[in-house]
């Protein structure tokens, strides 16, 4: 299993290495625009629990970016499957489905952590430095990226074309990015709206990433929930990879 995992992961890392300049630029653009448009525009006039909006926004952007970058592995899998036919190379190799899924999920998580690094560096230019040394902060990012990378691998096996892939982003990732507690505190919404929004995994990830970045001890139930969702999505990915043989 380990060799298969390493081979799949290494391939993604080598490709990422070849595209790293482009990737870093892509990872920087959206957070930079959000920070300029929302962070500067709000200034110090809006404060949440004693924090400026810029301080509030950066953990949200970290949650959002780690989600989108982890999920972006689905586009790469999709291209490798339908355009380059690389997926067949893995299917015909003596590796387990678990090794393939784990390799792709790890690749998605790697991209997510790089994007988080980019946001932290950009944040420094906006004079925002939070409690990034907290291991629970990094654990929350890890779980968030695990959830969305696993979902990405599963869905990449279900789609039948490149067009279906962009639909997934439009219907799953974009609404979640805006509603998952990234730009506003969910607790200020009406209860019925909160009930719906707390169904989204990103809401839990945003909450704990923000709490740990602010030095607040987070509720462990959010971690547990993210871990359970991540494992379920991983199992879904395994099933989808197995079924992709038809």
């Amino acid at each position: 299993m380990l060799n298969g995992f390493i081979a799949v992961y290494l391939r993604e890392v080598l490709i990422l290495k070849r595209r790293i300049k482009r990737q870093l630029l892509t990872m920087s653009v959206s957070p930079l625009l959000y920070l300029i448009a929302f962070g500067y525009a709000m200034g110090d006039t809006v404060r949440f629990d004693g924090h400026t909006y810029m301080e509030f926004l950066i953990p949200g952007l970290i949650a959002m970016s780690s989600m989108t970058q982890a999920f972006a592995i689905s586009t790469d899998i999709n291209v490798a499957r339908f355009y380059w036919h690389i997926f067949e190379e893995f299917q015909a190799a003596p590796i387990s489905d678990a090794a393939y899924v784990a390799g792709e999920v790890m690749a998605g998580m790697t991209r997510a952590f790089i994007s988080v690094g980019v946001i932290l560096i950009i944040g420094l230019f906006f004079n925002v430095s939070l409690a990034y040394g907290n291991p629970l902060f990094w654990l929350a990012i890890g779980l968030n990226s695990f959830v969305f990378a696993s979902l990405a691998v599963g869905l990449a096996m279900l789609v039948k074309s490149h067009a279906d892939q962009s639909m997934l982003t439009s219907f799953i990732i974009t609404p979640m990015a805006f509603l998952g507690g990234t730009f506003f505190p969910v607790d200020r919404l009406p209860v019925w709206a909160q009930d719906i929004i707390y169904l989204l995994p990103l809401t839990h990830a945003s909450k704990v990433i923000r709490q740990t970045a602010f030095g607040i001890l987070p509720d462990s139930s959010h971690y547990l929930l993210l871990a359970i969702i991540g494992v379920l999505f991983f199992l879904l990915a395994l099933k989808c990879v197995s079924q992709a043989r038809d």
Binding site: N3, G4, I6, A7, L10, R11, L14, I15, R18, R19, W84, H85, I86, E88, E89, F90, Q91, A92, A93, P94, I95, S96, R245, D246
Partner: protein
């Protein structure tokens, strides 16, 4: 006017190209020497023979060689919703043989390869590679074969050596073996000087050679080649053929679905004709051609060109003497055999 286009030397070339080795599996005489009657030489409409009656029987019954069979397929079927792609095919391929699998588009060639290599699930029937069942022992099976797909499935953004390295890792090869086998195989396919080049910078022929090298790097006992020369010019194609022969000479069993029918004629020890998901006949190219005839006359009949086959040259000359239209006289080739067995042209 009678036009004689005589492709003399074709068989001489074939004989030069074909290596001769003692192969106990070479078909003795599958269907006896009956020449299927003169009427059957008329090509179109000739009755297909059943696979069972035409699979060379001697090696199949011989227990001594039973252990040596590398591919064994029993009543394999595959259905996709309303399409019955494979309708119970059965055959065996012994060790070291180059087995060509021939049929028109949609006959089920790629489906068979995809099932054998674990890319698609069978609907029913069984298959074994190197003695291991393709689904029940899939990981063991996958160590037995190398696969060259019809489409170029290389990582274009990676270098040649990176592509090889990833493949080696998938097969759990040690770092020493990875380096050694990669260098050896790249030298074998004449790409060792380009190993730091990105795949997207290579020509079509180089990519095909790299795919073959990659499929061979873990020393498989069986090599599946699904139209390995598609899209290549004649010169490169012949270079790939020579490479395929070289690989077979190392003792590798090769399962080839050719894009060009002459590939099977030149390379194969045995050929299977597949049509509409069924095996029509299996035999050596020579026997298949002999069963069709020796000489062919292409006669233009309205919009169609209908070939007529003859056992001897005097028979063909007698026929020509009675005709007033334009004709082409040539030697029978494997495409004629396919035509005579199935009544269809091979458009791969």
């Amino acid at each position: 006017m009678v036009l004689f286009w005589l492709r003399t030397g074709r068989h001489e070339t074939r004989a030069d190209f074909k290596y001769h080795k003692s192969n106990p599996f070479r078909s003795p005489d599958p269907g006896g020497s009956d020449f299927r009657g003169h009427r059957a030489f008329r090509g179109i409409g000739a009755a297909p023979q059943s696979a069972a009656s035409t699979i060379p029987g001697d090696w199949r019954k011989c227990k001594k060689y039973a252990k040596e069979e590398m591919i064994r397929i029993e009543n394999l079927e595959k259905s996709y919703k309303n399409i019955h792609a494979l309708k119970g095919i059965s055959f065996r391929v012994p060790k070291g043989e180059l087995f060509a699998y021939l049929g028109p588009n949609g006959a089920g060639k790629t489906t068979t390869i995809r099932i054998l290599t674990g890319l698609t699930r069978r609907t029913s029937g069984d298959a074994w590679l190197g003695g291991f069942h393709i689904e029940e022992e899939s990981l063991k099976t996958k160590r037995k074969f190398g696969l060259v797909m019809q489409s170029i499935n290389l990582d274009q953004e990676l270098t040649i050596s990176e592509n090889m390295d990833i493949h080696c890792r998938l097969f759990n090869m040690s770092p020493v073996d990875r380096r050694k086998k990669t260098d050896e195989l790249l030298a074998y396919v004449d790409l060792v000087d380009r190993k730091k080049s990105l795949v997207k910078q290579l020509s079509g022929g180089m990519k095909r050679r790299l795919m073959i090298a990659r499929a061979m790097v873990h020393s498989p006992q069986i090599l599946f080649l699904d139209e390995p020369t598609v899209g290549l010019d004649a010169q490169i194609r012949r270079r790939i053929w020579a490479l395929i022969k070289k690989i077979q000479n190392r003792g590798t069993t090769i399962f080839l679905t050719p894009h060009y029918i002459e590939e099977a004629e030149f390379l194969a020890d045995r050929v299977a004709f597949l049509d509409e998901g069924k095996i029509v006949v299996i035999d050596t190219p020579q026997k298949l051609m002999e069963q069709t005839g020796t000489w062919a006359i292409d006669r233009i009949d309205g919009d169609q060109m209908e070939p007529v086959y003859f056992k001897t040259r005097p028979d063909a000359d007698t026929f020509i003497a009675k005709q007033e239209e334009s004709y082409t006289l040539r030697r029978v080739n494997l495409e004629d055999s396919f035509l005579s067995f199935t009544g269809k042209k091979v458009i791969c």
